[in-house]
C-alpha cells in the first residue's frame, strides 16, 4: 500500500452535483504526523494560471502512524467538471499529511450527466 490512500465507495468516478461522497482514507507512515487532512476541492488546469476552491476540509488530529478513517462529504451544486481547449475544471479529494505535505489524490467528475461538460473545440 502507498503511504496515503483514498478509496471511494463503489469506486465511483462520477457524481451528480449536490451528491454525498463516502469512502475511506488510510495511511501508513513511518512516524505519527501532527495531523492529516482530507480536502474536497476543485481546480483548473490549462494555459493560464491555476485557480482552485476548497469546499470542505476534514482534519484528523494526532493520528496513529498507520490508521484508516471513513469519511462523508457533500458536493455543492456547482461548478460542474468541464473541459475546453484552454481550461479544464477538475474535482478531487486530496489526503495530505502535515506538515510534510505528502499527498494522495482521487479525481472524479461532477456533472448531472456523469460526463464532464465538453466545451466547443475540445470534442
Amino acid at each position: 500500500m502507498s503511504a496515503l490512500q483514498i478509496e471511494l465507495t463503489g469506486n465511483l468516478t462520477a457524481y451528480p452535483p449536490g451528491a454525498e461522497i463516502t469512502g475511506r482514507v488510510a495511511w501508513q507512515l513511518p512516524t505519527a504526523p501532527p495531523a492529516i487532512e482530507l480536502r474536497l476541492f476543485w481546480f483548473t488546469r490549462g494555459k493560464g494560471t491555476t485557480d482552485a476552491g476548497v469546499i470542505e476540509t476534514i482534519r484528523f488530529d494526532y493520528p496513529r502512524p498507520a490508521d484508516h478513517r471513513d469519511f462523508r462529504v457533500r458536493l455543492p451544486a456547482a461548478p460542474y467538471s468541464f473541459s475546453g481547449k484552454l481550461i479544464s475544471l477538475i474535482w478531487a479529494l486530496e489526503l495530505v499529511s502535515l506538515p510534510d505535505n505528502q499527498t494522495a489524490r482521487a479525481e472524479f467528475t461532477v456533472s448531472p450527466t456523469g460526463q464532464e461538460i465538453l466545451l466547443e473545440g475540445a470534442r
Binding site: R45, G46, K47, G48, T49, T50, S83, G84, K85, L86, I87, S88, I90, L118, A122
Partner: protein, 198 residues
Amino acid sequence: MKARDNPFTADRVLRERYRLHDTSWDQLLARLAAFRYRAAIVGPEGTGKTTLLEDLAPRLAARGLRVQTCRAPAIPTDLTGVDVLLVDSAEILSWMRWWHLRRRTRGLIITAHRPGRLPTLHHCGTNAGLLAELLSAFIPTLPAPQRTALAAELHTAHAGNIRAALRDCYDRWAGSPDGLTAPASLSPCAGVARRDTG
C-alpha cells in the same frame, strides 16, 4: 485536445526548474558569497531568471540565511531579520526606490534584463538544444528528430524566449486530437504553409 490532457499546461511548465549548464549550484553559491550576496541574475525575457531566483531561495535558506522573496514594485516595508532579499524584476523600480532598497538591505539578489545595477551573478541564456531538452521532458514520446526540429523552429520564432515557446507548444497541442498524436502543425510542410499565408 482537452486542456487537462495538454502536456504544456501552466502548472506543468511551472514545475520545471532552472537547468544550470555552464556552472554548478556550489559554484554559483560560492560566487554569490564572494559578492557578499549582492548580485544580479541577468537575461532577456523568458530565459529563466525568475525560476533561477526561486531556486536560489531554498539553497540560501539551507545555508542558514534568512531569505525573503518579492516581486517589484511590491517591496516589503519591514526587512527586520532578513539576511538576503530576492527581488524579481528590480529594474522597474525608480532610481529613488532602488537607492533606498540598496541602503536597507544586507544581501540583495535581483533579476534584470540588463546588467549594471549589481554585479552579474549569472547570465541566463537559451539555445535550441536547451529547448529540445525541455521538450523531451514534456513530450517524451515525440521522436527526437521532430523534437529537435520543433525546438529549432520555436527558438528562432520566439527569439530565445522559452516561456513563449512553451505557450506556443500549448496552442499547437491544443489542436491535436489526443495526447499521443503530434499536432499536424509540426510537419515541415505546415510550417511553410503558415509562413506563406501569414
